[in-house]
């Protein structure tokens, strides 16, 4: 049992889904209760990962291996390191909260709805745990399907357009990624004489720089679309606007992180020479900076509450990719922490839109105003989410942003100088949104007498609030968990990095 913890974490939601399918579709309450129980169980079984994880050890832990398709060299192989640990915990918690938040929001095809969420949970956890590239690809594609249906069936008025756009966009990227994977697969056969998709094996390849760069760009398209990086981001606002609240929450909090995770787990370690090619680094950092500033400016002008939050994601994810391509410990660690932070903060912001959408069925910002007067608790929670997203110190966002900027600064002062403007603009679009929706007089009669948050709604926010404070006040454990895996990535792409650092620091002592 203990040896299969990762499998248990991986398949608990799927098992929950299978049981769910057996329940009678007419009994909606039973289905709701079961879906909440199953997703809560999914979170609870993942908790032991936190204390079983040994932050002093390098490499992957709790590894499970079994042959899956021996003729192709495909293995069922799971393992966890600090990066995947944080993302898995984010997935299981946010997954549960998303299900909890859907209690009254979804009334039609309830059974199918929850089934899709549980299936998606397994898919996302699989992406973060897979150590076999083929297995990873399978989970990557599995995630696509439930989200397609969640948007396409339970979405808003333009749901089909948004769902198909989301699907085709991502699929286009996946195809290129598959080509990249196959290139590595056949290269491995040529060099070592056997077929494998195992990542640790593929890391032993010695590929010429030109080929690495081709594969890098193939992966890039897949991951950049998922993140999404500028200019591959236009599926995101449509998908978010049309998706039901819980779909948006999972999409923003977890699905996007599959892209950044792809860069961290595959692009950098498998293609280290390509990843440090100055031209590639410049392009990636440049696109990240454009995303940070452009995303914020476009966000500033949105008239649709949800679209505003969607564009803010483009800006925030720009920080994450910038941190990755700073290619130093601060940048990478900051990026992972910011991925978690974005999951918390933006998850909350989407939940906040969901709460009001359920009451008023509109997302037009100009329909609102003065809600703080009618819904004080709601306004307080929103203020908290806003401050967390805007990077106020002692809350989570600051830690991630600051560390990323520190890392970016170490690599290039110009990058940092541009990126910091994103912090200014971040405050601007959020404060303005808050002012237009929450403050002032209640001018629209439809907003009078709206009920404040009920206990279930508040319960969705409280864990995220607590988590945001924890990361903001005492982030040390997060940095400790990330120290080894981040160091491994840095050592892989910049061999001798830590040796040089030590030498630089030793120097003044010798002079003295």
């Amino acid at each position: 049992m203990n040896g299969h913890l990762l499998s248990i974490v991986l398949f608990t939601p799927l098992a929950g889904m299978l049981v769910l399918l057996l329940l009678p579709g007419s009994n909606k309450t039973l289905i709701r209760i079961w879906a909440n129980v199953a997703s809560l169980a999914g979170f609870l079984v993942s908790l032991p990962l936190v204390w079983r994880y040994d932050k002093t050890a390098s490499g992957f832990q709790m590894v499970e291996t079994a042959d899956w398709i021996p003729s192709l060299g495909v293995k069922y192989m799971l393992g966890i390191d600090g990066i995947s640990l944080l993302l898995v915990m984010l997935t299981t918690l946010v997954g549960f909260l998303a299900v909890l938040s859907s209690w009254s929001a979804v009334q039609e095809r309830v059974k199918e709805y929850y089934a899709m969420f549980l299936l998606q949970q397994t898919g996302m956890i699989g992406v973060f745990l897979a150590l076999d590239f083929f297995l990873f690809y399978v989970f990557w594609e599995v995630v696509l399907v439930p989200m397609y249906f969640i948007i396409g069936v339970w979405g808003g008025p333009r749901k089909l357009y948004a769902a198909i756009k989301f699907f085709l966009y991502t699929l286009a990227g996946s195809v290129l990624m598959l080509l990249g994977i196959l290139t590595l697969y056949f290269q491995h056969f040529e060099q070592f004489g056997f077929y494998t998709f195992e990542i640790s094996d593929l890391m032993k390849l010695s590929l010429p720089l030109g080929l690495q760069q081709w594969v890098f760009w193939a992966f890039f398209v897949a991951f950049a679309i998922k993140v999404p990086m500028f200019p591959f981001h236009t599926w995101l606002p449509d998908a978010h606007v049309e998706a039901p609240t819980a779909g948006s929450v999972v999409l923003a909090s977890v699905l996007l992180k599959m892209g950044t995770y792809g860069f961290l787990r595959f692009s950098l370690p498998l293609l280290p020479d390509a990843s440090v090619t100055p031209a590639i680094v410049q392009v990636l950092a440049g696109l990240s900076l454009v995303a940070i500033i452009y995303g914020a400016l476009v966000s500033l002008m949105q008239k649709d509450w949800k679209k505003l939050v969607a564009y803010s994601s483009v800006s925030h994810l720009g920080f994450c990719t910038l941190g990755i391509f700073a290619l130093n410990p601060n940048g990478l660690a900051g990026s992972v922490i910011q991925q978690v932070n974005h999951g918390i903060s933006t998850g909350m912001l989407f939940l906040i839109v969901g709460v009001i959408y359920e009451r008023r069925h509109t997302r037009e910002i100009k329909e609102y105003g003065g809600l703080a007067h009618v819904m004080p608790v709601y306004a307080t929670v929103f203020a908290f989410a806003m401050l967390s997203s805007a990077g106020l110190p002692l809350l989570n966002g600051f830690i991630g942003e600051f560390t990323i900027l520190q890392g970016a600064f170490e690599t290039s002062r110009v990058w940092a100088a541009f990126a910091v403007t994103g912090v200014i603009l971040g405050a601007a679009y959020l404060l303005w949104l808050y002012q237009r929706t929450m403050l002032g007089e209640v001018t629209n009669p439809k907003n009078k007498g709206l009920p404040d948050l009920n206990w279930r709604e508040l319960a969705v926010f409280l864990p995220l609030i607590a988590w945001a404070i924890w990361i903001g006040v005492y982030p040390k454990p997060y940095f400790e968990v990330l120290e080894k895996p981040v160091a491994e990535i840095v050592e892989r792409v910049r061999p001798g990095y830590f040796g040089q650092q030590a030498a630089v620091q030793a120097l003044p002592g010798e002079v003295r």
């Binding site: 599926w235 476009v298 002692l394 002012q435 002032g440 006040v473 040390k476």
Partner: protein
């Protein structure tokens, strides 16, 4: 261990208590929590300072590592040295008086518990700011006080102008923080640490930069942060608007404490600035320019709080002038006396506003000295202090700054003296307009209750006698006294300027009441220029805000995003569908047409084969 952490912890606890349960608590309970926490904080400050005695060395307490990434380690460390001691005393004592005053002032306002929760939260962050032992923890306090400022400016959140002013304050401060953040990175790059102790010790070993170098750049970037927080050119524009907040907020945050954080920060970084004389010159220039500009604008304002707001900007400019002249202790000295008399001016203004049921326009006041005698006398104490009348508090500190400025560059002294004259004029103009002549408004003015007038009296005492707290002497171990002898003539000149300002105000507003209006009419466009604050807000709006907003909307969003990128994406989709609909024609499902395709295909293949053979 002296448990320094308790000093900020008390108000934090007050914030949590009032924030979580204050809504259902009685006013008395809210008062007890809010005032009690500040009292405890003040008592703990006194106890700590008594225990530390002469404070020859910095007392540092390290609690835990806040975060650590790579070589960057930031601790949750608090420190007390002589500079911090001064700040702690000012913040807790003036803070306490204003808290008490607010009981009376806010008694009829909604959201009573919310106000005091924010006030306590502000005290927490402000105390953290002055006790932080490294740059990043200081930044926590720095951002935190900014947040409280935002919340309290927008306290009357039903009023659009109030919430807009809150946004403006936060965003303009963020622009300043841009500099602060980059400075922090540069400091870490240059010194490998963010601890004040380590950084300043390392800086002490560096040579003075005669041309622009790393320290100069750090100094300038920190100045950007300070200019945001302390409302200096070009970032001062948020402070006058911040007067939308309740008057106790203006007194505590936007006069006595928060806005002086920039002054404190530069003084704290004196070891860096001393080695970057170019940056220090810029500090002096920015300070002087702000002092002059804001004093001129203050001449023509008609809203009593706006007059005092521009006065604050101007006085902060004075402090920067002192710092920039290398007289850090003079800058801090003026910070202290200013905290007394400016808090008093605002609280006095608040008392007047309270008496007139919310009226803030000087043109609808007048003759109030008969109706609100206590307020009148206390405001008069503040006025003589800020005008620099000897021997009251402002005289001592302003004198110290002007002498340092003269030593630094004589022309700066003369500009400073002229500003002192303007200061005396606009303050007494406000006093005369409000309290002399006959009452011009529709209300029935009444004196404020004792809970408001007692803090006024206490601050009046401090404003009169505060100059005898010899702050520069106390700070000598940290900031060596500036060179240059005490020149009595220079002192007489500045006192004469103050006297001239007061006399002119008397002439124009008491002796010959119509004179001011005639003069304004005569000066025409010049008066309008000053009255409209040189149109700086309008220029910023046209030159910066609108291009940003309209460009984002028209060019970036509708042009690039929806037009170019998404247009291209949709085009690809459309073309794919078109291609598909052509290809669909082939998939007709008719066996005979398939057979025909097979036939034609075979013929073509054969033909190709034959032809290629033949070609060979």
């Amino acid at each position: 261990m002296l448990h320094l952490w308790l000093i900020p912890a008390f108000p934090l606890a007050g914030f949590l208590a009032n924030g979580l349960v204050g809504r259902r608590a009685s006013k008395a309970a809210v008062n007890l929590i809010a005032i009690g926490s500040v009292v405890l904080s003040l008592l703990w400050v006194l106890k700590t300072l008594a225990a530390l005695g002469p404070l020859e060395h910095t007392h540092i307490e390290r609690y835990f590592t806040w975060f650590q990434s790579g070589d960057l380690r930031v601790g949750f460390d608090l420190a007390v040295d002589r500079l911090t001691a001064v700040m702690l005393l000012v913040v807790t004592s003036v803070g306490l008086l204003i808290h008490i005053y607010a009981i009376g002032y806010m008694s009829h306002e909604g959201g009573y518990y919310r106000f005091f929760a924010y006030f306590n939260l502000f005290m927490f962050f402000m105390l953290l700011l002055v006790m932080a032992a490294n740059f990043l923890l200081m930044f926590v306090g720095w951002e935190g006080v900014g947040l409280c400022s935002y919340l309290l400016i927008g306290f009357y959140f039903l009023r659009h102008s109030a919430t807009t002013a809150g946004n403006k304050a936060f965003i303009v401060n963020r622009i300043g923080d841009y500099g602060f953040t980059l400075a922090v990175f540069l400091i870490f790059l240059g010194f490998g640490s963010l601890d004040f102790e380590t950084v300043f010790a390392a800086a002490a070993g560096r040579p003075v930069e005669t041309s622009a170098g790393a320290l100069t750049l750090i100094g300038l970037l920190l100045l950007a942060g300070a200019a945001g927080k302390s409302a200096q050119i070009p970032l001062y524009v948020w402070l006058p608007d911040a007067m939308e907040g309740p008057t106790p907020v203006s007194a505590l945050i936007h006069a006595a404490t928060m806005v002086t954080a920039g002054v404190y920060m530069i003084a704290r970084c004196a070891p860096l600035y001393t080695r970057a004389p170019l940056a220090l010159d810029v500090v002096a220039l920015v300070g002087l320019a702000t002092a002059v500009l804001a004093a001129i604008i203050g001449l023509a304002q008609t809203d009593i709080k706006k007059v005092f707001a521009y006065s604050t900007v101007s006085q902060l400019g004075y402090m920067f002038l002192g710092l920039g002249s290398g007289a850090y202790s003079a800058g801090i000295f003026h910070l202290v006396t200013h905290a007394f008399f400016k808090a008093l001016l605002f609280l006095g203004a608040g008392s007047v506003i309270h008496a007139l049921s919310g009226e803030q326009d000087l043109r609808r006041m007048g003759g109030l000295r008969k109706h609100t005698p206590v307020t009148f006398v206390t405001i008069l104490c503040a006025a003589v202090a800020i005008a620099g009348v000897p021997p009251f508090s402002g005289f001592h500190s302003k004198d110290a700054i002007l002498l340092a400025a003269h030593h630094h560059a004589p022309w700066m002294y003369w500009a400073g003296v002229a500003t002192a004259g303007l200061t005396a004029f606009y303050v007494f103009r406000a006093v005369f307009l409000a309290f002399f002549g006959t009452y011009r408004g529709p209300h029935h003015p009444h004196e404020s209750p004792a809970v408001m007038t007692l803090p006024l009296a206490a601050l009046a005492l401090l404003s009169l006698a505060g100059g005898y707290f010899n702050v520069p002497r106390w700070l000598e171990p940290m900031f060596p006294p500036a060179e240059g002898a005490h020149d009595a003539l220079l002192v007489y000149i500045s006192v004469a300027a103050a006297a001239a300002g007061i006399s002119l105000a008397w002439l124009m507003y008491v002796a010959r009441p119509g004179l001011a209006d005639r003069l304004a009419g005569r000066l025409g466009w010049l008066y309008r220029l000053v009255y409209n604050k040189f149109f700086v807000d309008e220029i910023y709006d046209r030159a910066l805000v609108r291009p940003c907003v309209e460009g984002s909307s028209a060019v970036l969003w509708r042009g690039v995003d929806a037009g170019l990128i998404d247009g291209a994406v949709n085009q690809v989709g459309m073309k794919a569908r078109d291609a598909g609909s052509v290809l669909r024609l082939i998939q007709s499902g008719s066996i005979r047409s398939y057979a025909a395709w097979v036939l034609w295909g075979s013929v073509l293949a054969l033909a190709a084969l034959v032809l290629s053979r033949g070609a060979r």
